[in-house]
């Protein structure tokens, strides 16, 4: 079965209620072929519910889901075309790593790697004969990823893939996603709180907030359309201010520090600032552009939420994970 020229994942107006509480409200999402699509949201925004609906693990009230052209309850017909790695590693605790992989091989119709190969790929060969219940969370997660890589899936869904991984593990994971995406054209949907990691790896991003996708676009478009900040280190700050304030789209944010000027740019290239200053005889020592980050964008969107503000006021900082991720 081939999935070329079709969106591996297409969700249209998906709605889901838990009792009276509307978890998903007409959520629409498209993961295009070959994309690494990040899905971010606060706790309780509906990320896990969305993934569970996509995978047919729970029902939904209305809307439509097509994963590799199949409805969620028919995913098994993709014959390994879609795999998922869950937040909880979801493995038989009494089996060893090798046994888990051999067990997964039985379910994998088109195996492209052997258990030994995926163990080596994930760096868990030395734990091959360890029982899953004796492994650390990070290594359990690696084993979970390893079993997903036995085949050649067209779409991989990952729920919080960086949880429990150390710095090296995160780098390995990012490299693995990149390699699979580049070499095999595998599309990914990653649900995570770890915004800086998503920013590094994703080609597309969607922000899920209060059951809706509020922002969804290609990463470059998402950030290029936004205001960026430029730090200019130069000799004469007063003269530099006079020069740049005439350029449309430039705002002076701070000129109080000696030899340092902070500007806000809207659709203005830093090269233009540099050119103008040098033309007027001002020596520019350094230009440092601070682009809008996913973290800032996420803060901007979630801060609009009165519920979120209320939680912050009450001392429950729901953006704490974002801050921790930054650290």
């Amino acid at each position: 079965m081939t999935y070329h020229n079709t969106a591996p994942l297409l969700v249209t107006e998906l709605s889901k209620k838990y009792g009276d509480f509307e978890v998903l409200r007409k959520l629409s999402l498209e993961v295009t072929a070959g994309a690494v699509h990040g899905l971010v949201g606060l706790n309780g925004s509906g990320k896990t519910t969305t993934l569970e609906c996509l995978l047919g693990m729970q029902s939904f009230d209305s809307g439509s889901i097509r994963v590799l052209g199949l409805p969620p309850d028919q995913l098994h017909r993709s014959r390994g075309g879609v795999v998922s790695i869950f937040d909880n590693p979801s493995l038989h605790p009494q089996l060893t790593v090798r046994q888990v992989l051999e067990h997964a091989s039985l379910l994998c119709e088109q195996r492209v790697r052997t258990p030994a190969q995926v163990e080596a790929l994930l760096g868990i060969s030395k734990y091959s004969h360890f029982k899953i219940r004796h492994l650390s969370l990070g290594n359990r997660r690696r084993a979970s990823i390893a079993q997903a890589l036995l085949g050649s899936p067209a779409l991989v869904l990952l729920d919080e893939p960086f949880n429990g991984l150390d710095a090296g593990g995160v780098d390995d994971m990012l490299a693995l996603i990149s390699t699979l995406n580049r070499d095999e054209g595998t599309a990914f949907l990653l649900s995570s709180h770890q915004l800086p990691y998503l920013e590094k790896i994703c080609s597309h991003l969607s922000i899920l907030h209060k059951g809706r996708i509020v922002v969804s676009d290609h990463v470059s478009r998402l950030f290029n359309s936004r205001v960026s900040r430029l730090l200019v280190s130069c000799d004469d700050v007063v003269r530099a201010c006079a020069i740049v304030q005439d350029i449309p789209g430039v705002q002076i944010e701070d000129n109080s520090a000696p030899g340092l000027l902070t500007l806000q740019l809207e659709d203005v290239s830093p090269a233009l600032i540099n050119q103008r200053l040098v033309q007027k005889g001002i020596a520019v020592h350094e230009l440092q552009r601070e682009r809008a980050s996913l973290t800032s964008l996420f803060h901007e969107i979630t801060a609009r939420d009165p519920v979120h503000d209320h939680l912050l006021d009450a001392g429950h900082d729901t953006s704490r994970t974002v801050v921790e991720a930054d650290l």
């Binding site: 569970e52 995978l55 047919g56 693990m57 729970q58 029902s59 309850d73 028919q74 995913l75 098994h76 014959r79 390994g80 879609v82 795999v83 998922s84 869950f86 909880n88 590693p89 979801s90 493995l91 038989h92 605790p93 009494q94 089996l95 046994q99 051999e102 067990h103 997964a104 039985l106 379910l107 994998c108 119709e109 079993q147």
Partner: protein, 284 residues
């Protein structure tokens, strides 16, 4: 069909590497062997005591293996059905708790195929446990007692062929409710919110049925559990145990035997169909 076969293969792979399934297969055999040895030791002690007191040992019922053979089956099947019901209740719910179920569903099998694979695995385990238990009972009773006709004062009360026929019928009737009991365990597993809840509910309901079948009167004959060897045993195997010891006061009601033959199967099918229907809408 491919999904069912793949899911069954995966189930067998896990079962072959699990200590709990090994224990499940071995435990009934070990218990019946232990029971037979304890009974034989008690009998020997009793005979020695009677010999010392100058009394004649009760030879007929004591030394014929058939009564012990049937009693061992009664004990073994009681234990086997309880442990297998617990296993059937645990198998689906525990995989849902651990999330292991999801990989099978996403990659290879539909929900109904997975439920049928789980049920087939439970039946395979039951067959293995039953085979081993039969071999164990046959061997241990042959070693400790003698198989033969029941003879009293030189008269043959019941011949070997008749005994074998009665034992065969008793075992067949005792085994017929087992598939229904296991399907019930799996149904509870599908309905339950966790593995703990599934096992406690399935065992609790099974024991409750055992208690209540005594007060249901005639209506109890429409319940599969009535015909199953159990803690409060009303199965035909109890009557067979007395028959093969030469007791002549055994009353056999043919209508009850017919109900024993026909009631368990539809109830098993009902449990399976319910499990297949309920699993479709279940959050996994």
């Amino acid at each position: 069909m491919n999904g069912f076969v793949a899911a069954l293969k995966a189930e067998i792979y896990v079962a072959l590497r699990s200590n709990s399934t090994r224990l499940l297969v071995l435990l009934p055999s070990l218990i019946v062997i232990a029971r037979a040895i304890v009974v034989r030791l008690t009998e020997t002690g009793q005979q020695a005591r009677e010999a010392l007191l100058g009394q004649e040992a009760e030879a007929v019922a004591g030394t014929n293996a058939w009564g012990h053979f049937v009693d061992s089956f009664s004990t073994g099947l009681t234990l086997l059905s309880l442990t297998l019901v617990a296993y059937a209740a645990w198998t689906f719910a525990s995989d849902r708790d651990s999330g292991a179920l999801r990989h099978v569903l996403i990659r290879r099998a539909s929900r109904p195929a997975l439920v049928l694979a789980k049920l087939s695995m439970v039946y395979l385990l039951a067959l293995c446990a039953l085979g081993l238990m039969t071999a164990s009972i046959g061997t241990i009773t042959a070693l400790l007692w003698d198989f033969g006709p029941v003879v009293e004062d030189g008269y043959e009360l019941i011949g070997s062929a008749e005994i074998r026929a009665e034992v065969g019928l008793g075992l067949r009737l005792a085994l017929l409710p087992l598939p229904a009991a296991l399907a019930f365990g799996l149904l509870v597993s599908v309905c339950a919110q966790s593995a703990t809840q599934a096992v406690t509910s399935a065992l609790g309901i099974t024991v409750a049925l055992d208690i209540f079948k005594g007060v249901l009167g005639e209506r109890a004959y429409y319940l599969y559990a009535t015909f199953q060897p159990s803690l409060i045993d009303q199965s035909y195997l109890q009557d067979v145990s007395r028959l093969v010891r030469g007791y002549s006061d055994v009353m056999i009601d043919n209508r009850v035997l017919q109900l024993n033959e026909w009631v368990p199967l539809p109830q098993m099918l009902l449990f399976v169909v319910l499990a297949l229907l309920l699993v479709r809408g279940k959050k996994l």
